[in-house]
Amino acid sequence: MKILLKILLFVILSLFIAGCLGIGEKTQDASRPINLVKMSGQDMVQRLGAGEIAGFIMWEPYPAIATTKGYGKNLLFSGKIWEGHPCCVVAYDYNWYINTKNADEILRRMALVQLKSVEYINNAKPTNSPEHEALINYTLEFGGMTDRAAANLSLQDVDFVYNTNVPGATTFIKKIQDFGIFDTGKWIQSGYFNASDYANSLITENYVDWAVMNKDANLKSVSLREPVTIRYGYLVNDIHELPFYVAWKKGYYNDVGINITIAEGAPFQNGAFEMQKGFKADTVDVGSLGIPPVIIHRINSNDFTKDDARVGVIAGMNNEGSVIVVANNITSFKDLRGKTVGYPGPGTIQHVLFLMQADKEGLKVSY
Protein backbone atom coordinates (compact mmCIF):
# COMPACT_ATOMS: atom_id res chain seq x y z
CA MET A 1 0.00 0.00 0.00
CA LYS A 2 2.88 2.34 0.87
CA ILE A 3 4.38 2.03 -2.61
CA LEU A 4 1.05 2.86 -4.20
CA LEU A 5 0.80 5.91 -1.97
CA LYS A 6 4.31 6.94 -2.95
CA ILE A 7 3.48 6.59 -6.63
CA LEU A 8 0.35 8.63 -6.11
CA LEU A 9 2.35 11.30 -4.29
CA PHE A 10 4.90 11.37 -7.07
CA VAL A 11 2.17 11.75 -9.66
CA ILE A 12 0.46 14.56 -7.76
CA LEU A 13 3.78 16.31 -7.30
CA SER A 14 4.64 16.09 -10.99
CA LEU A 15 1.19 17.32 -11.96
CA PHE A 16 1.67 20.19 -9.57
CA ILE A 17 5.05 21.07 -11.10
CA ALA A 18 3.67 20.79 -14.61
CA GLY A 19 0.75 22.95 -13.55
CA CYS A 20 3.09 25.59 -12.15
CA LEU A 21 5.05 25.70 -15.40
CA GLY A 22 1.76 26.13 -17.26
CA ILE A 23 0.56 28.84 -14.91
CA GLY A 24 3.89 30.64 -15.24
CA GLU A 25 3.09 31.15 -18.90
CA LYS A 26 -0.26 32.71 -18.20
CA THR A 27 0.68 35.24 -15.54
CA GLN A 28 2.16 37.97 -17.74
CA ASP A 29 -1.13 38.51 -19.53
CA ALA A 30 -0.63 42.16 -20.40
CA SER A 31 2.60 41.57 -22.29
CA ARG A 32 1.50 38.33 -23.93
CA PRO A 33 1.96 38.18 -27.68
CA ILE A 34 -0.67 37.37 -30.26
CA ASN A 35 -0.01 33.79 -31.35
CA LEU A 36 -0.09 33.25 -35.08
CA VAL A 37 -0.79 29.64 -36.02
CA LYS A 38 -0.52 28.32 -39.55
CA MET A 39 -3.59 26.62 -40.99
CA SER A 40 -5.50 26.22 -44.23
CA GLY A 41 -8.32 28.59 -45.17
CA GLN A 42 -10.94 25.88 -44.67
CA ASP A 43 -9.54 25.27 -41.20
CA MET A 44 -9.67 28.96 -40.34
CA VAL A 45 -13.36 29.22 -41.19
CA GLN A 46 -14.22 26.03 -39.33
CA ARG A 47 -12.15 26.81 -36.23
CA LEU A 48 -13.45 30.34 -36.00
CA GLY A 49 -16.97 28.89 -36.13
CA ALA A 50 -16.10 26.43 -33.37
CA GLY A 51 -14.58 29.21 -31.24
CA GLU A 52 -11.13 27.64 -31.19
CA ILE A 53 -9.37 30.67 -32.61
CA ALA A 54 -10.02 34.32 -31.94
CA GLY A 55 -9.57 35.33 -35.56
CA PHE A 56 -7.61 34.90 -38.74
CA ILE A 57 -5.95 36.90 -41.49
CA MET A 58 -6.47 35.42 -44.93
CA TRP A 59 -7.01 36.12 -48.60
CA GLU A 60 -10.48 36.24 -50.08
CA PRO A 61 -12.80 34.29 -50.32
CA TYR A 62 -12.28 32.86 -46.81
CA PRO A 63 -13.10 36.11 -44.97
CA ALA A 64 -16.27 36.47 -47.03
CA ILE A 65 -17.24 32.84 -46.36
CA ALA A 66 -16.70 33.23 -42.61
CA THR A 67 -18.67 36.46 -42.36
CA THR A 68 -21.60 35.32 -44.51
CA LYS A 69 -21.86 32.24 -42.31
CA GLY A 70 -21.95 34.52 -39.28
CA TYR A 71 -18.88 32.95 -37.68
CA GLY A 72 -17.17 36.28 -37.27
CA LYS A 73 -16.89 39.84 -38.50
CA ASN A 74 -14.35 41.85 -40.47
CA LEU A 75 -12.05 43.68 -38.10
CA LEU A 76 -9.63 45.20 -40.56
CA PHE A 77 -9.26 45.24 -44.33
CA SER A 78 -5.65 45.05 -45.43
CA GLY A 79 -6.14 48.37 -47.24
CA LYS A 80 -6.56 49.92 -43.79
CA ILE A 81 -3.22 48.47 -42.69
CA TRP A 82 -1.46 49.82 -45.77
CA GLU A 83 -3.50 51.62 -48.38
CA GLY A 84 -3.11 50.21 -51.88
CA HIS A 85 -0.48 47.68 -50.89
CA PRO A 86 0.62 45.30 -53.66
CA CYS A 87 -0.37 41.68 -53.15
CA CYS A 88 -0.22 38.92 -55.76
CA VAL A 89 1.99 39.31 -58.83
CA VAL A 90 2.82 37.43 -62.03
CA ALA A 91 6.37 36.08 -61.96
CA TYR A 92 8.56 34.01 -64.26
CA ASP A 93 11.31 31.53 -63.55
CA TYR A 94 14.76 32.81 -64.47
CA ASN A 95 16.02 29.41 -65.65
CA TRP A 96 13.08 29.14 -67.99
CA TYR A 97 13.76 32.69 -69.18
CA ILE A 98 17.38 32.10 -70.18
CA ASN A 99 16.57 28.79 -71.84
CA THR A 100 13.69 30.12 -73.92
CA LYS A 101 14.70 32.14 -76.94
CA ASN A 102 11.55 34.21 -77.35
CA ALA A 103 10.89 34.55 -73.61
CA ASP A 104 10.51 38.33 -73.85
CA GLU A 105 7.85 37.95 -76.56
CA ILE A 106 5.98 35.45 -74.40
CA LEU A 107 6.15 37.60 -71.27
CA ARG A 108 4.86 40.68 -73.14
CA ARG A 109 1.81 38.68 -74.17
CA MET A 110 1.35 37.32 -70.66
CA ALA A 111 1.28 40.92 -69.43
CA LEU A 112 -1.21 41.88 -72.15
CA VAL A 113 -3.49 38.97 -71.26
CA GLN A 114 -3.27 40.06 -67.64
CA LEU A 115 -4.30 43.59 -68.62
CA LYS A 116 -7.26 42.39 -70.67
CA SER A 117 -8.43 40.04 -67.97
CA VAL A 118 -8.21 42.69 -65.27
CA GLU A 119 -10.19 45.10 -67.46
CA TYR A 120 -12.85 42.46 -68.03
CA ILE A 121 -13.13 41.77 -64.30
CA ASN A 122 -13.26 45.44 -63.35
CA ASN A 123 -16.02 46.04 -65.92
CA ALA A 124 -17.98 43.02 -64.71
CA LYS A 125 -17.63 43.83 -61.00
CA PRO A 126 -20.65 46.19 -60.65
CA THR A 127 -23.80 44.17 -60.03
CA ASN A 128 -25.61 45.85 -62.92
CA SER A 129 -23.00 44.77 -65.46
CA PRO A 130 -24.25 42.23 -68.02
CA GLU A 131 -21.15 40.14 -67.36
CA HIS A 132 -21.59 40.15 -63.57
CA GLU A 133 -23.27 36.75 -63.37
CA ALA A 134 -20.55 35.17 -65.50
CA LEU A 135 -17.89 36.71 -63.26
CA ILE A 136 -19.61 35.36 -60.15
CA ASN A 137 -19.58 31.91 -61.74
CA TYR A 138 -15.84 32.15 -62.37
CA THR A 139 -15.36 33.28 -58.77
CA LEU A 140 -17.37 30.36 -57.43
CA GLU A 141 -15.39 27.87 -59.53
CA PHE A 142 -11.98 29.28 -58.77
CA GLY A 143 -12.68 29.98 -55.10
CA GLY A 144 -14.17 26.53 -54.52
CA MET A 145 -17.28 28.02 -52.97
CA THR A 146 -21.06 27.73 -53.38
CA ASP A 147 -22.42 30.92 -51.88
CA ARG A 148 -23.05 33.62 -54.50
CA ALA A 149 -23.34 36.37 -51.89
CA ALA A 150 -19.95 35.44 -50.44
CA ALA A 151 -18.46 35.38 -53.94
CA ASN A 152 -19.73 38.89 -54.64
CA LEU A 153 -18.53 40.14 -51.26
CA SER A 154 -15.04 38.75 -51.79
CA LEU A 155 -14.83 40.34 -55.26
CA GLN A 156 -15.62 43.76 -53.84
CA ASP A 157 -12.76 43.47 -51.30
CA VAL A 158 -10.09 42.87 -53.94
CA ASP A 159 -8.63 45.56 -56.16
CA PHE A 160 -7.49 43.85 -59.38
CA VAL A 161 -4.54 45.50 -61.13
CA TYR A 162 -1.99 44.73 -63.80
CA ASN A 163 0.63 47.38 -62.99
CA THR A 164 3.83 46.55 -61.23
CA ASN A 165 4.64 48.48 -58.07
CA VAL A 166 8.34 49.03 -57.33
CA PRO A 167 7.87 51.40 -54.35
CA GLY A 168 5.43 48.91 -52.81
CA ALA A 169 7.88 46.07 -53.26
CA THR A 170 10.64 48.22 -51.72
CA THR A 171 8.51 48.81 -48.64
CA PHE A 172 7.83 45.09 -48.35
CA ILE A 173 11.54 44.29 -48.60
CA LYS A 174 12.31 46.81 -45.85
CA LYS A 175 9.62 45.37 -43.60
CA ILE A 176 10.78 41.80 -44.20
CA GLN A 177 14.30 42.91 -43.29
CA ASP A 178 13.09 44.64 -40.11
CA PHE A 179 11.06 41.62 -39.05
CA GLY A 180 14.14 39.37 -39.19
CA ILE A 181 12.77 37.02 -41.87
CA PHE A 182 15.75 37.10 -44.24
CA ASP A 183 18.59 34.66 -43.74
CA THR A 184 21.33 37.21 -43.07
CA GLY A 185 24.07 35.08 -44.64
CA LYS A 186 22.05 34.67 -47.83
CA TRP A 187 21.24 38.37 -47.95
CA ILE A 188 24.96 39.16 -47.96
CA GLN A 189 25.51 36.57 -50.71
CA SER A 190 22.79 38.16 -52.82
CA GLY A 191 24.90 41.30 -53.16
CA TYR A 192 22.01 43.78 -53.12
CA PHE A 193 22.91 47.09 -51.49
CA ASN A 194 19.49 47.93 -50.13
CA ALA A 195 15.77 47.36 -50.50
CA SER A 196 15.24 49.52 -53.57
CA ASP A 197 18.24 47.97 -55.32
CA TYR A 198 16.66 44.57 -54.79
CA ALA A 199 13.18 45.74 -55.82
CA ASN A 200 14.51 47.16 -59.07
CA SER A 201 16.28 43.93 -59.89
CA LEU A 202 13.15 41.93 -59.07
CA ILE A 203 10.62 43.83 -61.13
CA THR A 204 10.72 44.46 -64.89
CA GLU A 205 8.33 47.14 -65.98
CA ASN A 206 8.69 47.06 -69.76
CA TYR A 207 6.33 44.09 -70.27
CA VAL A 208 3.43 46.04 -68.82
CA ASP A 209 4.54 49.09 -70.85
CA TRP A 210 4.26 47.01 -74.00
CA ALA A 211 0.89 45.69 -72.90
CA VAL A 212 -0.42 49.21 -72.28
CA MET A 213 0.75 50.27 -75.75
CA ASN A 214 -1.12 47.36 -77.30
CA LYS A 215 -4.12 47.44 -75.04
CA ASP A 216 -6.58 48.14 -77.83
CA ALA A 217 -5.18 45.49 -80.14
CA ASN A 218 -7.13 42.33 -80.81
CA LEU A 219 -5.41 39.52 -78.93
CA LYS A 220 -5.31 37.28 -82.00
CA SER A 221 -3.58 40.00 -84.01
CA VAL A 222 -0.57 40.00 -81.66
CA SER A 223 -0.44 36.21 -81.40
CA LEU A 224 2.93 34.45 -81.25
CA ARG A 225 4.02 32.92 -84.55
CA GLU A 226 4.54 29.53 -82.97
CA PRO A 227 2.35 28.55 -80.03
CA VAL A 228 4.24 27.77 -76.81
CA THR A 229 3.33 25.79 -73.73
CA ILE A 230 3.71 27.44 -70.35
CA ARG A 231 3.60 25.50 -67.09
CA TYR A 232 1.63 27.80 -64.81
CA GLY A 233 1.65 27.78 -61.00
CA TYR A 234 -0.98 29.43 -58.81
CA LEU A 235 -2.40 29.34 -55.28
CA VAL A 236 -5.33 27.23 -54.20
CA ASN A 237 -8.73 28.99 -54.21
CA ASP A 238 -7.15 32.43 -54.09
CA ILE A 239 -9.57 35.01 -55.47
CA HIS A 240 -6.63 37.41 -55.86
CA GLU A 241 -5.55 35.34 -58.84
CA LEU A 242 -8.92 35.43 -60.53
CA PRO A 243 -7.45 37.36 -63.51
CA PHE A 244 -5.42 34.26 -64.35
CA TYR A 245 -8.42 31.95 -64.12
CA VAL A 246 -10.68 34.22 -66.13
CA ALA A 247 -8.05 34.65 -68.85
CA TRP A 248 -7.48 30.93 -68.97
CA LYS A 249 -11.18 30.03 -69.11
CA LYS A 250 -12.02 32.74 -71.60
CA GLY A 251 -9.23 31.57 -73.90
CA TYR A 252 -7.17 34.78 -73.79
CA TYR A 253 -3.92 32.81 -73.49
CA ASN A 254 -4.86 30.63 -76.47
CA ASP A 255 -5.61 33.77 -78.46
CA VAL A 256 -2.04 35.03 -78.08
CA GLY A 257 -0.58 31.59 -78.79
CA ILE A 258 0.15 30.51 -75.23
CA ASN A 259 -1.01 27.08 -74.21
CA ILE A 260 -1.39 26.94 -70.42
CA THR A 261 -0.80 23.67 -68.60
CA ILE A 262 -1.13 23.50 -64.85
CA ALA A 263 2.30 23.01 -63.29
CA GLU A 264 3.10 19.90 -61.32
CA GLY A 265 2.10 20.46 -57.69
CA ALA A 266 -0.23 23.37 -58.50
CA PRO A 267 -2.43 24.76 -57.09
CA PHE A 268 -0.05 25.39 -54.21
CA GLN A 269 -1.03 25.76 -50.55
CA ASN A 270 0.87 29.03 -50.20
CA GLY A 271 3.49 31.15 -51.89
CA ALA A 272 6.36 29.59 -49.94
CA PHE A 273 5.48 26.22 -51.44
CA GLU A 274 5.15 27.63 -54.93
CA MET A 275 8.60 29.18 -54.66
CA GLN A 276 10.35 26.11 -53.24
CA LYS A 277 8.52 23.25 -54.93
CA GLY A 278 7.69 25.15 -58.10
CA PHE A 279 10.06 27.87 -59.24
CA LYS A 280 13.16 26.55 -57.50
CA ALA A 281 12.49 22.98 -58.63
CA ASP A 282 11.93 24.22 -62.20
CA THR A 283 8.43 22.83 -62.47
CA VAL A 284 6.84 26.26 -62.91
CA ASP A 285 7.65 28.57 -65.85
CA VAL A 286 5.30 31.40 -65.00
CA GLY A 287 3.05 31.68 -62.00
CA SER A 288 1.14 33.96 -59.70
CA LEU A 289 1.76 34.32 -55.99
CA GLY A 290 2.08 36.93 -53.27
CA ILE A 291 5.03 39.28 -53.56
CA PRO A 292 6.49 38.59 -50.06
CA PRO A 293 7.17 34.89 -50.78
CA VAL A 294 8.90 35.98 -53.98
CA ILE A 295 11.01 38.50 -52.06
CA ILE A 296 11.86 36.07 -49.24
CA HIS A 297 12.63 32.92 -51.20
CA ARG A 298 14.63 34.57 -53.94
CA ILE A 299 17.04 35.23 -51.05
CA ASN A 300 16.52 32.49 -48.44
CA SER A 301 15.92 29.48 -50.70
CA ASN A 302 18.29 30.57 -53.40
CA ASP A 303 21.50 28.75 -54.18
CA PHE A 304 23.48 31.74 -55.38
CA THR A 305 25.97 29.65 -57.32
CA LYS A 306 23.05 28.56 -59.54
CA ASP A 307 20.49 31.27 -58.88
CA ASP A 308 17.89 28.50 -58.96
CA ALA A 309 15.23 30.35 -56.99
CA ARG A 310 15.57 33.50 -59.05
CA VAL A 311 12.30 34.84 -60.37
CA GLY A 312 11.29 38.09 -61.99
CA VAL A 313 8.04 39.99 -61.60
CA ILE A 314 6.33 41.14 -64.81
CA ALA A 315 2.87 42.28 -63.75
CA GLY A 316 0.60 42.81 -60.80
CA MET A 317 -2.46 40.73 -60.01
CA ASN A 318 -4.19 42.65 -57.25
CA ASN A 319 -3.80 45.20 -54.50
CA GLU A 320 -5.24 44.78 -51.01
CA GLY A 321 -7.78 41.97 -50.64
CA SER A 322 -6.81 40.35 -47.35
CA VAL A 323 -8.91 40.71 -44.24
CA ILE A 324 -8.47 40.19 -40.51
CA VAL A 325 -11.64 38.39 -39.43
CA VAL A 326 -12.36 38.03 -35.72
CA ALA A 327 -14.89 36.32 -33.48
CA ASN A 328 -17.96 38.41 -32.76
CA ASN A 329 -16.92 39.20 -29.17
CA ILE A 330 -13.69 40.90 -30.22
CA THR A 331 -13.83 44.63 -30.84
CA SER A 332 -10.26 45.76 -31.41
CA PHE A 333 -6.90 44.49 -32.60
CA LYS A 334 -5.60 44.82 -29.04
CA ASP A 335 -8.20 42.29 -27.86
CA LEU A 336 -6.28 39.62 -29.78
CA ARG A 337 -3.45 39.81 -27.24
CA GLY A 338 -2.66 36.38 -25.81
CA LYS A 339 -5.04 34.73 -28.27
CA THR A 340 -4.55 32.43 -31.23
CA VAL A 341 -4.97 33.81 -34.73
CA GLY A 342 -4.84 31.72 -37.91
CA TYR A 343 -2.62 32.70 -40.84
CA PRO A 344 -1.49 30.95 -44.04
CA GLY A 345 2.14 30.56 -42.98
CA PRO A 346 5.38 32.34 -42.26
CA GLY A 347 6.59 34.66 -44.99
CA THR A 348 3.18 35.11 -46.62
CA ILE A 349 1.75 38.53 -47.34
CA GLN A 350 -0.81 38.04 -44.60
CA HIS A 351 2.03 37.38 -42.16
CA VAL A 352 3.87 40.57 -43.07
CA LEU A 353 0.67 42.67 -43.00
CA PHE A 354 -0.27 41.30 -39.59
CA LEU A 355 3.17 42.16 -38.23
CA MET A 356 2.84 45.67 -39.66
CA GLN A 357 -0.46 46.20 -37.87
CA ALA A 358 1.00 44.85 -34.61
CA ASP A 359 3.90 47.25 -35.04
CA LYS A 360 1.49 50.18 -35.35
CA GLU A 361 -0.36 49.13 -32.20
CA GLY A 362 2.80 48.32 -30.24
CA LEU A 363 1.94 44.64 -29.79
CA LYS A 364 4.09 41.55 -30.07
CA VAL A 365 3.32 38.65 -32.38
CA SER A 366 4.80 35.18 -32.01
CA TYR A 367 4.96 32.75 -34.88
Binding site: M1, L4, P33, G180, D183, S301, G347, L355
Partner: protein, 268 residues
Protein backbone atom coordinates in the same frame (compact mmCIF):
# COMPACT_ATOMS: atom_id res chain seq x y z
CA UNK B 1 41.91 -4.11 -19.09
CA UNK B 2 38.28 -3.20 -18.80
CA UNK B 3 38.98 0.52 -18.63
CA UNK B 4 41.28 0.24 -21.60
CA UNK B 5 38.66 -1.36 -23.80
CA UNK B 6 36.09 1.18 -22.62
CA UNK B 7 38.41 3.97 -23.62
CA UNK B 8 38.98 2.36 -26.96
CA UNK B 9 35.23 2.09 -27.46
CA UNK B 10 34.74 5.75 -26.62
CA UNK B 11 37.52 6.72 -29.00
CA UNK B 12 35.86 4.79 -31.82
CA UNK B 13 32.53 6.42 -30.94
CA UNK B 14 33.97 9.90 -31.21
CA UNK B 15 35.89 9.06 -34.36
CA UNK B 16 32.79 7.64 -36.04
CA UNK B 17 30.78 10.74 -35.18
CA UNK B 18 33.54 12.91 -36.60
CA UNK B 19 33.69 10.80 -39.78
CA UNK B 20 29.94 11.16 -40.18
CA UNK B 21 30.21 14.94 -39.99
CA UNK B 22 33.07 14.84 -42.46
CA UNK B 23 31.07 12.69 -44.89
CA UNK B 24 28.10 15.02 -44.55
CA UNK B 25 30.30 18.04 -45.24
CA UNK B 26 31.99 16.31 -48.19
CA UNK B 27 28.70 15.24 -49.80
CA UNK B 28 27.26 18.74 -49.59
CA UNK B 29 30.41 20.41 -50.85
CA UNK B 30 30.75 17.96 -53.74
CA UNK B 31 27.16 18.62 -54.76
CA UNK B 32 27.70 22.36 -54.54
CA UNK B 33 30.77 22.18 -56.74
CA UNK B 34 29.02 19.89 -59.24
CA UNK B 35 31.46 17.02 -58.61
CA UNK B 36 29.01 14.42 -57.38
CA UNK B 37 25.35 14.41 -56.49
CA UNK B 38 23.00 11.64 -55.40
CA UNK B 39 20.31 11.47 -58.09
CA UNK B 40 16.86 12.89 -57.25
CA UNK B 41 18.25 14.88 -54.33
CA UNK B 42 19.13 18.53 -54.04
CA UNK B 43 22.08 17.90 -51.76
CA UNK B 44 23.46 21.33 -52.51
CA UNK B 45 20.64 22.87 -50.48
CA UNK B 46 21.51 20.95 -47.33
CA UNK B 47 23.50 23.09 -44.91
CA UNK B 48 26.99 21.92 -44.01
CA UNK B 49 27.67 20.87 -40.38
CA UNK B 50 29.37 24.21 -39.78
CA UNK B 51 26.45 26.21 -41.14
CA UNK B 52 24.12 24.09 -39.02
CA UNK B 53 26.21 24.78 -35.93
CA UNK B 54 26.03 28.54 -36.46
CA UNK B 55 22.31 28.30 -37.15
CA UNK B 56 21.90 26.39 -33.89
CA UNK B 57 23.76 29.05 -31.93
CA UNK B 58 21.89 31.84 -33.70
CA UNK B 59 18.44 30.42 -33.05
CA UNK B 60 18.97 29.12 -29.53
CA UNK B 61 17.24 31.97 -27.71
CA UNK B 62 14.07 33.95 -28.23
CA UNK B 63 14.53 37.15 -30.19
CA UNK B 64 12.34 40.05 -31.09
CA UNK B 65 12.44 41.96 -34.35
CA UNK B 66 10.12 44.91 -33.94
CA UNK B 67 6.68 43.33 -33.41
CA UNK B 68 7.87 39.84 -34.32
CA UNK B 69 8.66 37.51 -31.47
CA UNK B 70 10.56 34.48 -32.71
CA UNK B 71 10.93 31.78 -30.11
CA UNK B 72 14.38 30.21 -29.72
CA UNK B 73 15.11 26.51 -29.82
CA UNK B 74 15.34 26.57 -26.00
CA UNK B 75 11.71 27.69 -25.70
CA UNK B 76 10.54 25.28 -28.40
CA UNK B 77 12.28 22.44 -26.56
CA UNK B 78 10.73 23.43 -23.27
CA UNK B 79 7.25 23.46 -24.82
CA UNK B 80 7.69 20.07 -26.48
CA UNK B 81 9.15 18.50 -23.33
CA UNK B 82 6.33 19.89 -21.24
CA UNK B 83 3.79 18.25 -23.56
CA UNK B 84 5.63 14.95 -23.35
CA UNK B 85 5.77 15.18 -19.54
CA UNK B 86 2.07 16.00 -19.30
CA UNK B 87 1.05 13.29 -21.73
CA UNK B 88 3.45 10.88 -20.04
CA UNK B 89 2.05 11.49 -16.57
CA UNK B 90 -1.47 10.79 -17.78
CA UNK B 91 -0.25 7.71 -19.64
CA UNK B 92 1.50 6.52 -16.47
CA UNK B 93 -1.56 7.05 -14.30
CA UNK B 94 -3.76 5.17 -16.76
CA UNK B 95 -1.26 2.61 -18.04
CA UNK B 96 0.16 1.16 -14.84
CA UNK B 97 -3.15 0.28 -13.10
CA UNK B 98 -4.56 -1.10 -16.35
CA UNK B 99 -1.41 -3.14 -16.88
CA UNK B 100 -1.51 -4.54 -13.34
CA UNK B 101 -5.18 -5.36 -13.70
CA UNK B 102 -4.75 -7.09 -17.04
CA UNK B 103 -1.65 -8.94 -15.90
CA UNK B 104 -2.98 -10.06 -12.53
CA UNK B 105 -6.62 -10.83 -13.18
CA UNK B 106 -7.46 -13.34 -15.91
CA UNK B 107 -11.02 -12.00 -16.21
CA UNK B 108 -9.89 -8.39 -16.68
CA UNK B 109 -7.26 -9.63 -19.13
CA UNK B 110 -9.87 -11.37 -21.23
CA UNK B 111 -12.10 -8.31 -21.22
CA UNK B 112 -9.45 -5.72 -22.10
CA UNK B 113 -7.00 -7.65 -24.24
CA UNK B 114 -8.90 -7.56 -27.54
CA UNK B 115 -9.44 -3.82 -27.22
CA UNK B 116 -5.82 -3.15 -26.31
CA UNK B 117 -4.53 -5.36 -29.08
CA UNK B 118 -6.49 -3.51 -31.76
CA UNK B 119 -6.06 0.01 -30.46
CA UNK B 120 -2.33 -0.33 -29.83
CA UNK B 121 -1.78 -1.13 -33.48
CA UNK B 122 -3.10 2.25 -34.51
CA UNK B 123 0.02 4.43 -34.70
CA UNK B 124 -0.18 7.66 -32.67
CA UNK B 125 -0.02 9.64 -35.92
CA UNK B 126 -3.25 7.98 -37.05
CA UNK B 127 -4.96 9.69 -34.12
CA UNK B 128 -3.95 13.17 -35.21
CA UNK B 129 -7.02 13.90 -37.40
CA UNK B 130 -9.29 12.70 -34.61
CA UNK B 131 -7.44 14.91 -32.14
CA UNK B 132 -7.88 17.88 -34.46
CA UNK B 133 -11.58 17.39 -35.07
CA UNK B 134 -12.72 16.15 -31.65
CA UNK B 135 -10.50 17.79 -29.07
CA UNK B 136 -10.78 21.49 -28.41
CA UNK B 137 -7.41 21.72 -26.66
CA UNK B 138 -4.49 19.55 -25.74
CA UNK B 139 -4.38 17.66 -29.02
CA UNK B 140 -0.63 17.18 -28.95
CA UNK B 141 -0.71 15.96 -25.34
CA UNK B 142 -3.36 13.45 -26.34
CA UNK B 143 -1.14 12.14 -29.14
CA UNK B 144 1.74 11.72 -26.67
CA UNK B 145 -0.62 9.89 -24.34
CA UNK B 146 -1.65 7.49 -27.09
CA UNK B 147 1.99 6.91 -28.00
CA UNK B 148 3.08 6.26 -24.43
CA UNK B 149 0.21 4.39 -22.82
CA UNK B 150 0.52 1.12 -24.74
CA UNK B 151 4.23 0.47 -24.15
CA UNK B 152 3.55 1.15 -20.47
CA UNK B 153 0.54 -1.19 -20.36
CA UNK B 154 2.27 -4.00 -22.23
CA UNK B 155 5.45 -3.83 -20.19
CA UNK B 156 3.50 -3.66 -16.95
CA UNK B 157 1.52 -6.75 -18.00
CA UNK B 158 4.77 -8.46 -18.85
CA UNK B 159 6.29 -7.50 -15.51
CA UNK B 160 3.25 -8.67 -13.54
CA UNK B 161 3.05 -11.95 -15.42
CA UNK B 162 6.71 -12.73 -14.93
CA UNK B 163 6.46 -12.29 -11.16
CA UNK B 164 7.90 -15.41 -9.58
CA UNK B 165 4.84 -17.51 -8.69
CA UNK B 166 6.70 -18.95 -5.72
CA UNK B 167 6.83 -15.52 -4.15
CA UNK B 168 3.07 -15.11 -4.57
CA UNK B 169 2.46 -18.58 -3.18
CA UNK B 170 4.73 -17.86 -0.24
CA UNK B 171 2.85 -14.65 0.50
CA UNK B 172 -0.46 -16.53 0.24
CA UNK B 173 0.63 -19.23 2.69
CA UNK B 174 1.70 -16.54 5.10
CA UNK B 175 -1.88 -15.23 4.95
CA UNK B 176 -1.42 -12.07 2.90
CA UNK B 177 -4.54 -10.51 1.40
CA UNK B 178 -4.89 -9.99 -2.38
CA UNK B 179 -4.26 -6.27 -2.10
CA UNK B 180 -1.13 -6.87 -0.04
CA UNK B 181 0.15 -9.38 -2.59
CA UNK B 182 -0.31 -6.87 -5.37
CA UNK B 183 1.28 -3.93 -3.59
CA UNK B 184 4.08 -5.73 -1.78
CA UNK B 185 4.97 -8.56 -4.16
CA UNK B 186 3.69 -7.96 -7.68
CA UNK B 187 4.38 -4.24 -8.08
CA UNK B 188 7.96 -4.29 -6.75
CA UNK B 189 8.69 -7.27 -8.96
CA UNK B 190 7.12 -5.62 -12.00
CA UNK B 191 8.71 -2.23 -11.36
CA UNK B 192 11.78 -2.67 -13.59
CA UNK B 193 9.52 -3.75 -16.40
CA UNK B 194 7.28 -0.74 -15.80
CA UNK B 195 10.33 1.48 -16.06
CA UNK B 196 11.27 -0.18 -19.33
CA UNK B 197 7.75 0.56 -20.55
CA UNK B 198 8.17 4.18 -19.53
CA UNK B 199 11.48 4.35 -21.38
CA UNK B 200 10.09 2.87 -24.59
CA UNK B 201 6.98 5.00 -24.19
CA UNK B 202 9.02 8.17 -23.87
CA UNK B 203 10.79 7.31 -27.12
CA UNK B 204 7.49 6.82 -28.92
CA UNK B 205 6.00 9.89 -27.21
CA UNK B 206 8.90 12.06 -28.32
CA UNK B 207 8.50 10.95 -31.92
CA UNK B 208 4.75 11.44 -31.70
CA UNK B 209 5.03 14.96 -30.31
CA UNK B 210 7.20 16.14 -33.19
CA UNK B 211 4.74 14.75 -35.72
CA UNK B 212 1.76 16.10 -33.81
CA UNK B 213 3.25 19.58 -33.56
CA UNK B 214 3.70 19.66 -37.32
CA UNK B 215 0.01 19.03 -37.91
CA UNK B 216 -1.68 20.37 -34.78
CA UNK B 217 -0.14 23.80 -35.03
CA UNK B 218 0.54 25.79 -31.93
CA UNK B 219 2.93 28.73 -31.88
CA UNK B 220 5.67 26.88 -30.05
CA UNK B 221 7.20 23.40 -30.17
CA UNK B 222 10.13 21.74 -31.95
CA UNK B 223 8.03 20.05 -34.63
CA UNK B 224 6.45 23.39 -35.36
CA UNK B 225 9.86 25.09 -35.43
CA UNK B 226 11.43 22.84 -38.08
CA UNK B 227 8.37 23.10 -40.33
CA UNK B 228 8.33 26.87 -39.95
CA UNK B 229 12.01 27.19 -40.80
CA UNK B 230 11.47 25.00 -43.87
CA UNK B 231 8.61 27.29 -44.89
CA UNK B 232 10.96 30.27 -44.71
CA UNK B 233 13.68 28.49 -46.69
CA UNK B 234 16.00 28.55 -43.68
CA UNK B 235 17.26 25.01 -44.01
CA UNK B 236 20.23 25.41 -41.63
CA UNK B 237 17.91 26.26 -38.75
CA UNK B 238 15.63 23.40 -39.81
CA UNK B 239 18.45 20.84 -39.68
CA UNK B 240 19.68 22.29 -36.38
CA UNK B 241 16.19 21.70 -34.97
CA UNK B 242 16.20 18.12 -36.25
CA UNK B 243 19.50 17.44 -34.52
CA UNK B 244 18.22 18.91 -31.27
CA UNK B 245 15.23 16.55 -31.49
CA UNK B 246 17.57 13.58 -31.90
CA UNK B 247 19.87 14.60 -29.08
CA UNK B 248 17.00 15.16 -26.66
CA UNK B 249 15.49 11.76 -27.46
CA UNK B 250 18.87 10.18 -26.81
CA UNK B 251 19.39 12.02 -23.52
CA UNK B 252 15.90 11.03 -22.31
CA UNK B 253 16.61 7.38 -23.02
CA UNK B 254 19.99 7.45 -21.30
CA UNK B 255 18.74 9.29 -18.23
CA UNK B 256 15.99 6.75 -17.61
CA UNK B 257 18.51 3.93 -17.96
CA UNK B 258 20.70 5.64 -15.36
CA UNK B 259 17.74 6.22 -13.06
CA UNK B 260 16.75 2.60 -13.44
CA UNK B 261 20.23 1.44 -12.40
CA UNK B 262 20.33 3.79 -9.43
CA UNK B 263 16.95 3.25 -7.91
CA UNK B 264 16.02 -0.30 -8.61
CA UNK B 265 18.62 -2.02 -6.53
CA UNK B 266 16.67 -5.26 -6.23
CA UNK B 267 17.35 -5.98 -9.87
CA UNK B 268 20.74 -7.23 -10.89
Amino acid sequence: MKIDSERKGLAINILSLFCFLLLWHALVMMARNDIFNIPFMRLRDIPTPIETWYALLGSMFTKTYGPALTYGIADHTRASLLRVVEGGIIAFIVGVPVGIGVGYSKLLGNILNPIIEIVRNMPPMAWIPLAIFILVAGGSIFIVFIGMVFPIILNTVHGVKSTDSRLIDAAKTLGASESKIVTLVVIPSAFPSIMTGLRIGLGVGWMAIVAAEMVIRSPVGLGYFIWNMGDLGRYAEMVAGMIVIGVIGYVMNISILVLQKRFIRWVD
